[in-house]
C-alpha cells in the first residue's frame, strides 16, 4: 500500500504563486481596448434607395438608417429577436413569403420593399388579429400602429364571452365557434402577490417575459409558454401561483412587457382607482442605493411620489434589467416612519 505523503506547503503550490494582497496599479492612463476591425459594408435596396449598412445588421437596422419607422411588438433591443409577432414583415425580392425585418440579416443585393400593398395588408391583419383577441387598452404603441395601418378589429364580430381560467387540458381541443362572435383571450386578472399583477387578457404572446425570466436576463425560468395554438399562454408549472413558483420577483418581465399585461401592483392599483396620470409623471435617473453594482434607475414620479422604477435599455450595466431591490425596493421612501424604515 502506498504511503501517505505528509501535507506540506509544497502540496499547495498555488498558494505560493497567489498574488500578494496589495496589487500594484500600473502607472499611466487606463489602456483602451484595441479598435474593432471595421465591419464590411453590405449594399441593398430599400424602397428604391440604396442603403449601405455593416455586415451582420438586420433589415430592421437597415430600415432605420433610411429613416423608415418599422412597427415592432415582440422585438426589443436588449433581447434576441424571436420574430413571432410578424408585424415587422417586409417584402424581399426572390422570397416566396414576406420576411421578418427584426431578425433577417442583410445580404448584398437584397431588394426590399417596406410599404407596398402586400406588406401593409399583412401588418394590418396582424394588428387586427391582436386587437380583436387581446385587450390592448394599455398598449398605446400597438394602438398607434393599428391606426397607421387602418385596422378594424371590430369587423370580426363582438368579443365572445370570456371563457374563464384557461384549463390545462390536452392540446388541440376547442369548442366550435358560434358563427357570431370573435374568440378572445379574456380571462381573470391574476393577483397573487404584492409586487406585480399578471393580466393575461392583455398578453400578445411576444415571448419577451419568458426570455427575460430565462436565459437572456434572470436565469430563473419561473414561466414558460404552455398550451398550443390559440390556447398558448404564459404559465408557471401547473399554473401554480407565483409565490409557489421559482419567481424571484426581479420584475424583469414587467420591464419588457409591451402591452401592460404585466404591471407593477402599485401602477395597477392606481389605474384601477383612476389615479394613474402618465402625462404628469416625471422621470429621474439615479443610481440604485442597494449594492455596489451601481445600476441606473429611472424613477417615475407622480405627485412627488415614486410610482415605479425602471432602467434604461441602453444602460451598460443593466441593459434595462434590475433585481427585486432596485425594481421594487423603493417603497420605504413612502413609509410613514422614515427613520424606522431607513
Amino acid at each position: 500500500m502506498e504511503k501517505k505523503k505528509p501535507v506540506t506547503q509544497d502540496s499547495f503550490p498555488f498558494i505560493a504563486s497567489a498574488p500578494s494582497p496589495t496589487v500594484p496599479v500600473p502607472p499611466g492612463p487606463i489602456p483602451a481596448p484595441p479598435p474593432a476591425a471595421p465591419r464590411n459594408e453590405v449594399a441593398l435596396t430599400i424602397d428604391g434607395k440604396t442603403a449601405r449598412v455593416p455586415e451582420g445588421s438586420t433589415l430592421l437596422e437597415a430600415c432605420k438608417t433610411q429613416g423608415i419607422d418599422t412597427p415592432t411588438l415582440c422585438y426589443l433591443e436588449n433581447l434576441n429577436p424571436v420574430n413571432v409577432c410578424r408585424v415587422c414583415v417586409v417584402e424581399l425580392e426572390g422570397a416566396r413569403t414576406l420576411v421578418p425585418a427584426c431578425s433577417r440579416r442583410v445580404e448584398n443585393g437584397m431588394v426590399v420593399r417596406t410599404d407596398n400593398e402586400r406588406v401593409r395588408l399583412s401588418r394590418r391583419m396582424v394588428l387586427e388579429f391582436l386587437a380583436s383577441s387581446v385587450d390592448v387598452s394599455t398598449a398605446p404603441e400597438l394602438q398607434s400602429y393599428l391606426e397607421r395601418y387602418g385596422g378594424q378589429p371590430e369587423r370580426y364580430g363582438p368579443a365572445a364571452p370570456a371563457a374563464g381560467e384557461p384549463e390545462a387540458g390536452p392540446a388541440g381541443v376547442h369548442a366550435a365557434p358560434d358563427g357570431l362572435t370573435a374568440a378572445t383571450v379574456a380571462q381573470p386578472v391574476k393577483i397573487d402577490n404584492d409586487l406585480y399583477v399578471r393580466d393575461y387578457g392583455k398578453c400578445i404572446l411576444c415571448y419577451k417575459c419568458v426570455q427575460a425570466c430565462g436565459e437572456e436576463a434572470q436565469n430563473t425560468f419561473a414561466i414558460a409558454v404552455a398550451g398550443r395554438g390559440f390556447d398558448s399562454r404564459i404559465s408557471t408549472e401547473f399554473s401554480v401561483p407565483l409565490p409557489d413558483s421559482a419567481c424571484v420577483y426581479c420584475g424583469n418581465c414587467i420591464g419588457v412587457c409591451p402591452t401592460g399585461a404585466l404591471m407593477f401592483k402599485s401602477e395597477y392599483d392606481m389605474r384601477e382607482a383612476g389615479n394613474w396620470k402618465e402625462s404628469e409623471q416625471q422621470r429621474t435617473d439615479t443610481i440604485c442605493p442597494y449594492c455596489g453594482v451601481g445600476c441606473t434607475l429611472t424613477l417615475h414620479v407622480q405627485d412627488n411620489q415614486i410610482v415605479k422604477a425602471t432602467s434604461p435599455l441602453d444602460q451598460e450595466v443593466t441593459r434595462g434589467h434590475l433585481c427585486i431591490k432596485g425594481r421594487f425596493g423603493w417603497q420605504f421612501i413612502r413609509g410613514k416612519d422614515k427613520k424606522k424604515s431607513s
Binding site: 420574430n83 413571432v84 409577432c85 410578424r86 408585424v87 414583415v89 413569403t97 414576406l98 421578418p100 431578425s103 395588408l121 399583412s122 391583419m125 396582424v126 388579429f129 391582436l130 380583436s132 383577441s133 369587423r155 370580426y156 364580430g157 390545462a168 387540458g169 390536452p170 392540446a171 388541440g172 381541443v173 376547442h174 366550435a176 365557434p177 358560434d178 358563427g179 357570431l180 362572435t181 370573435a182 374568440a183 400578445i204 404572446l205 436565469n219 430563473t220 425560468f221 419561473a222 414561466i223 414558460a224 409558454v225 404552455a226 398550451g227 398550443r228 395554438g229 390559440f230 390556447d231 398558448s232 404559465s235 408557471t236 408549472e237 401547473f238 401554480v240 409557489d244 413558483s245 421559482a246
Partner: protein
Amino acid sequence: MDLHIAGQPPERDERAAVDSVLGPLQLGKAESYHLQQERPARSQRHLLLPVLHAINSRIGWISPGALNYACRRLNLPPAEAFGVADFYGLFSMTPRPRVLIHVCDDIACLTGGAPAICEHLAGRLGPAGAAKPSDKLTWLRSPCLGLCDRAPAALVSAAGRKSWECALAPTSADALLAAAEQPERRPESPAVAASLSVPQQGQQGLHLLRRVGRLQPESLEDHLAEGGYEALRRAVDLGPERVIREVIDSRLVGRGGAAFPAGRKWEAVYRARSSQPTRYLVCNADESEPGTFKDRVIMEEDPFLLIESMTIAGLATGCEQGFLYIRGEYPLAFERLSHAVRQARKQGFLGKRILNLDLSFDIEIRRGAGAYICGEETALFNSIEGYRGEPRNKPPFPTEVGLFGRPTLVNNVETLVNVPGIVLWGGRSFAGIGTPRSTGTKLFCLSGHVARPGVYEVPFGASLAGLLDLAGGVAGNGRLQGVLVGGAAGTFLSPRELDTPMTFEGTRAIGAALGSAVVMPFDDSVDLSKILLRIAAFFRDESCGQCVPCRVGTVRQEEALSRLFGGHAEGVGQAPLQLAEIGQVMSDASICGLGHTASSAIQSALARWAEFSDLRQGSDPED
C-alpha cells in the same frame, strides 16, 4: 441555474416511470440529484419527451409528482417541462381515466362512419373528454390517425404497469367499448392483411411496395432473402461521393410535401464535414397530414427497408447518428421499427462496425405525442431536443444549423426508401422513370369515396382520373363532387380537373400541389361545408401558437367559415373577403409551412364552390 422544485416527492409509480427511461437514481454522496448524472445534466434535455411518454403511459397523465421528479433528474425548470408537456395532444396535465378511446373524426373518417361512433360513445360515456378522473374510461376526438384506408378508425390506450396502445380500423363503437372494458389485456389486433392497405400487392412493376406481403415485417431473414442490404453493400462499394452523385442524378425530390431536391441536401450535409464533424440524419416519419398513410404502410410492412435506407443515407453523408421521429399515433409501426433496429444492430447492420468494416451508424427512434406541427422539420428538431415543437425561422436551413445546432439531413420516409433502388440501378435509370421533372414512382394515398382505398404506387405521370380508376372508381353514390388532393394543406379539385397529371409540375401548373399525395374524392351527397369546417378546426387545433398570423388567423378563419355557412345575417357578406385576407396574411407572414398552407384547401374549395353546389343540387337529396 438554481432549480426551484416544489411539491410532494414522487409516488412509487411516478418514480418508476421516470426511472424506466433515465435509469434508477443512485443516491450517493452528493445530495443534489443532478450531480449524480454521468453526463452533464443539460445535455439530457432531449430525454424529456421519452420521459413524458413513460409518465403518461404509466400514470395516465402528467402528474406534478412525476414531472417534478423528471425535472430533478434532468435538471430542468418545471415551468419549461410543463410548457413542453402541455404542447402535445396525447398528454394531459390534469387527471383523467386510464383508458382512452381516441376516435378519429377527421375528413376521411367523417365521411366514413365516425359521426355514428361518436354519437354512440357520447350516449354511453357522455361528451368527449367529459369523464371524471375516477371513471374507468373516456373518449376523445382525434385528428387524422393515418388509417384513412380503413375508416372509421380509433386508437385505444390503457395506462398502467402493463400499458398498451392499439389502433383499430375499421372499427365500431361496440368493438371500441369491448376493447376498453378490459384494460389489463391488449385487444387482439384483428389480423389485417397487408393487401387491405396495398390493393396492388403482388402485382408486377411495383418498386417501393414490391415486397409488401411477401415478407414477415419482423424478419431480418426475409429482408435478406428479398434482396435486403444488397443496396447497402453496393453503397459501401461506391463510396459516399458516388452515392450522393447517384442521388443527384436521380433527380429525386422530397416526398414529404415540400418537393425539395434530395441530392442537394445530401451534398450540403456531406460538404459540411470539414467544419462540422458531428452531423445528424433525421427521418421524418411524423406523417400527420390528414388523409396520408403511405409512410405508415411502409413502416409497418417493410420496416427493414427504411432502416437500410437510413443506413445508406447516414453512411453517405457522414452522419453517425440517425433519429427516426415517428408520430405517437402509430403504435404498430413504432413496434416493428424498434424491433427492426434491434435486429439490425444485433446482426451488425447498425452500430460501430457495420458489415464488419470501419463504418459506424446507429438509429434512435423517437415518438411524437400528438402534434401535427412536429412534421415541420425544424419543429421536429425542437421536439427531439426536448423543447416545444415550435418551428424555427429559416434561414438558417437544417443543412447548416439543424438538430442540436448541427448540419442535419432531414428526409421523409418515402424519400428515403427510394434510395436503395437508386443505388442499385443508378441515378440515371431512376431518372428515366416518371416524367423529366418528377422522377421515379410515387405512392398515393387513396381514401374517401373510392371503391378500393389504399396506397397505390405508380410511375409519375398518371392523371387524377387514372388514379381514381386504379382504385376502382368513385364509390359512395358514384357521382363525383370534388377531390381533395394533398391533404388538409392541399387543394380541392373539381371533376373538370380530373385530367391533371399528378406530378409536381402538373399540379403546380393549376395552382395546386401534390403535397403528401393524398387523393380523397367526395361524392355529391357530401356536404363539403362540413369538410371545410373540419379542416379549419384542424388547423386551429394544430397551430403551434408561436406566430400571430397563424395563431389568431386559424381561429378567425374558422369563425368566418362558420359565419359563412351558418348563414348568420351579419357578416356573411364580409366573410369571403375576410377569408381571402386571412388566407393571404397566413401564407405571407407565418413562420412555417403550416400557416402558409392553412387556407389553401378552403380557398380552393370556395373558388370552385359554384361548381360543387351545382353538382350537389343535381343529386337526389339523401336522408
